[in-house]
Amino acid sequence: MRYLPHTDTERAEMLATIGVSDIADLFAAVPHAARLKAPLDLPAHSPEYMVEAHMRALAARNRAGADGPFFVGAGAYRHHVPATVDHLIQRSEWLTAYTPYQPEVSQGTLQMLFEFQTQVAHLTGMEVANASMYDGSTATAEAVLMAKRLTRRNRIVLSSGLHPHYRDVVRTYVGDGPDLVVIPHSQAGTLPLTIDDKTAAIVVQTPDFYGSLRNIEELADLAHDAGALLIVVVTEVVSLGLIEAPGALGADIVVCEGQSIGNALNFGGPYVGLMATRASFVRQMPGRLCGETVDADGNRGFVLTLSTREQHIRREKATSNICTNSGLCALAFSIHMGLLGEAGLRKLARLNHSRACALADALVAVPGVELVTNTFFNEMTIRLDRPAAPVVETLAGQGILAGVPVSRLDPDQPDVADLLVLAATELTTDGDIAALAHALTEALQ
């Protein structure tokens, strides 16, 4: 087996050094009755080319984004990732290092995390950011728990338009009950009536699940007047190159799905959650934090810090059970953001919006299509004159991935069967849009 260095002779010599005659002697503590007596029913080891053939056959049964027109978004976005990013993250020193517990031999990772935290703070307009979370959905759930700790209140209000998966994850984390108020899309206007002196936080997504841009300032005032916090969720971080930073509008905690920058679609993971907040809240923030300090010679260096919040020190009193972050995805994010810079991100964001405008213009010209979202960044919702799911299936059969039917994520919500969410990015061509419009026109005849 190509990954195992020992020969049988070496194994025997090592057993002799240990002072046992058989490897089974080292497993003496394993209850005899439970030990496997025969090999498991699994295939034997395999040469590299055969493994590759097996995996390629599986990959070939998936329709890749580049195979044709592609308009799927709803929380994960198909962007171009510069070749430099993927080259760099595969360097051994990044790929095969552990969490930087030993700072003297981990300054690469630590400095990168410090830069990442700075980028996230600037992007969101907040004072501090952590070294990343698993993804946007779990970051949202952690933000909700953080708000409960900070306010010592229990009620959470999820505004309409929060990604249904995010809503469901929050529900799993905090439990269903009177303290979790979920505003349905059809009753978006009722949110102010649900805010009271028991409310810990309002959670709002912008651009929301349907693509609409939300008035953050108004909700921040509403939350703050009640002594509650405003948690802003951003699932498309590229939008922050064009849309006002939540931190400039009164957000208390900002969480994002960072996948769009530096990370491939990967069928949903691994991704990278971003979390940023006010400096005064940092000790209630979950996750790893990297801080600047000096070494014994007075030279600048970086360490993981404020770990007295964390499970390996505080055990059952920790702010979260979280142990890892999403280090390599955070690195990819940071490199891509470093390549973009402010000038590049602004251009990328304008380009995305411009492609989305072209898409919207083409869609409204299709008979049987109504544009539901008046404001948007790079994603929009349309209402068809019939259920969306079968139409999406029909177009998929023609090689066009036309977006996400709302009913797939939210089957229980009334009146969403005809709604379809579509995204455009810098990779969306005029040809893609024309092909979609043509196919949709035919499908709706």
């Binding site: 097996h54 059952e316 979280i322």
Partner: protein
């Protein structure tokens, strides 16, 4: 110029410091000190836009994001990378972390467009290969564990713990046993175990270890059974020992109406030797980034699928894959008692791909050999060091990691921390130190199966030479260590007392101070 015990220079600095950034140990300024907001390493068309569809929400606040051109970016991140230790550059005997070889085939496969460039919400009919892959991975995990079901979606080990303990909570509630509020956790447990239990509203009751480092079944039986929801036990445990009474413990836990959660962080030692399902375990997470070698990436991403017994299987989260009439289905909404959704989408596909590639490469025979070699290597280190280093639980075989305490350093003025830092000067990543907490000044060495004997010998020679040096009264080289790393020992107290968590312009800092 000072020398180490091997007669090698410990300093090279003409600038007065041994680590001042010369030659192959480059100092590197921050991204924000090299780049600026005008530079960019990406060519994009500069389009004008009409802002009417932005609803008045266009960004007015500054972004202040520094940019680099492509050559500058490459150099910045390559230079930074050289300040990291990695598995590929040397032995990484970090106990409890399973720093084994990361095959590059896995990276290649994960980047196939059919895996990397597919969207979690595109029609299920267009991702049948992805669902098939999830099925195959699940089948491997179930065969290796002899459990009933597996929840693939947890994003990391701690997330898997949360998921597994949530299924236990849900099962108790469904059985009218929701009043059970105590979780038993041995003192030697990973910090995530009590954190997870507390996170789910349980109170944690510690169980002390026996003098031999394992859990006493009598201590489990003595716990107030009607209120106990579960035990969380790591096996092999964090002392590197197999819990030899595990079957009796499982029986006692079940007798009391509680469930047995096993922290499977150390599954690498026993895969294909013994199956958790044959030990009475109800739920166990498996760290794909340890046992199945998905790279640690400087702290993630990981993946922590949870295998479940028949009693807990109905409570597994959505989504999961099921065979349907027209092919595989991704069940995203289910009737019944499942605990809901613990993450968006379908989990860590990129990690599933790497783990399955690793499994296929090894095969069942290779995985069994890997477990045996991991145990062999740890015992070899233990045997080579046992005359000098102190074994807290006597001279008994260990599993995949060897645990030492700091008694051998008594009177030397050298601490476990100092010893670990001296290893850096000798070219090794330190072992895990001060964990588990049940052992004084713990040093936990996990060589993994990836290390050849000559590397183990060199490492053991170094460990013995350092121990001899400490005993010979050369404490100064330990307390001053590391001397040959890119930086010297860091002032962690200062970092925590006055947290500086992002870069700020000097003029802004000055202005704020005035």
């Amino acid at each position: 110029m000072s020398m180490n015990t091997h007669g090698r220079p410990t300093g090279i600095g003409s600038a007065g410091s041994p680590t001042s950034g010369a030659a192959l140990l480059p100092d590197e300024p921050l991204l924000f000190e090299i780049g600026d907001t005008g530079h960019s390493g990406v060519d994009l068309p500069d389009v004008e836009i009409d802002e009417t569809r932005l609803g008045g929400f266009a960004r007015k606040s500054p972004l202040d994001l520094a940019g680099l051109t492509e050559p500058e970016a490459l150099r910045h991140y390559v230079r930074l990378s050289r300040r990291n230790y990695s598995i590929d550059s040397g032995m990484y005997p970090l106990g409890s972390c399973t720093m084994k070889h990361n095959p590059r085939l896995n990276e290649k496969i994960a980047r196939l467009p059919g895996f990397a460039d597919i969207h979690p919400l595109q029609p299920v009919s267009t991702v049948q290969g992805a669902l098939e892959l999830m099925q195959q991975l699940a089948q491997w995990l179930l065969t290796l564990t002899n459990m009933t079901a597996v929840a693939l979606t947890p994003k990391a080990g701690a997330h898997g713990e949360m998921c597994g303990m949530m299924t236990i909570r849900a099962a108790h509630e469904a059985n009218g046993q929701g009043h059970r509020k105590i979780v038993l956790v041995p003192d030697s447990a990973h910090g995530t175990n009590p954190a997870t239990a507390a996170f789910l509203g349980y109170s944690v009751k510690s169980i002390p270890a026996r003098p031999d480092g394992t859990v006493d079944v009598e201590a489990v039986k003595a716990a107030p059974s009607p209120d106990v929801a579960a035990i969380m036990l790591t096996n092999p445990n964090t002392c590197g020992l197999f819990e030899r009474q595990i079957v009796e413990i499982a029986a006692a836990v079940h007798e009391a109406g509680a469930y047995f959660y096993c922290d499977g962080a150390n599954f690498n030692a026993i895969m294909s030797v013994v199956r958790p399902g044959d030990l009475g375990i109800d739920a166990m997470h498996i760290n794909l980034h340890k046992t199945f070698s998905t790279p640690h990436g400087g702290g993630g991403p990981g993946a922590g699928p949870v295998v479940l017994s028949a009693a807990l299987a109905p409570f597994a989260p959505v989504p999961f894959v099921r065979k349907g009439e027209g092919g595989l289905e991704l069940i995203e909404h289910a009737e019944g008692e499942h605990l809901g959704r613990i993450t968006a989408f379908a989990g860590q596909m990129g990690m599933y791909v790497r783990a399955l590639t690793y499994m296929l490469s090894h095969g069942g025979d290779g995985l069994a050999q890997a477990a045996k070699d991991a145990v062999l290597n740890a015992n070899y280190v233990r045997a080579r060091l046992r005359d000098v280093f102190s074994l807290p639980f006597g001279d008994q075989p260990c599993m995949h990691e060897a645990l030492f305490d700091d008694h051998f350093l008594d009177g030397t003025g050298v601490s476990t921390l100092d010893f670990a830092k001296a290893l850096i000067d000798e070219g090794y990543h330190p072992m895990t130190m001060y964990f588990p907490l049940v052992v004084h000044g713990a040093m936990l060495v996990e060589p993994t199966e990836s290390e050849p004997r000559q590397t183990l010998d060199a490492f053991c020679d170094t460990m013995l030479a350092l121990a001899a040096d400490a005993k010979a009264g050369n404490a100064a080289r330990f307390t001053a260590a590391p001397m040959r790393a890119p930086v010297r020992r860091m002032d962690e107290t200062r970092a925590a007392r006055t947290p500086k968590l992002k870069w700020e312009r000097e003029e802004d800092v000055k202005q704020a101070a005035e």
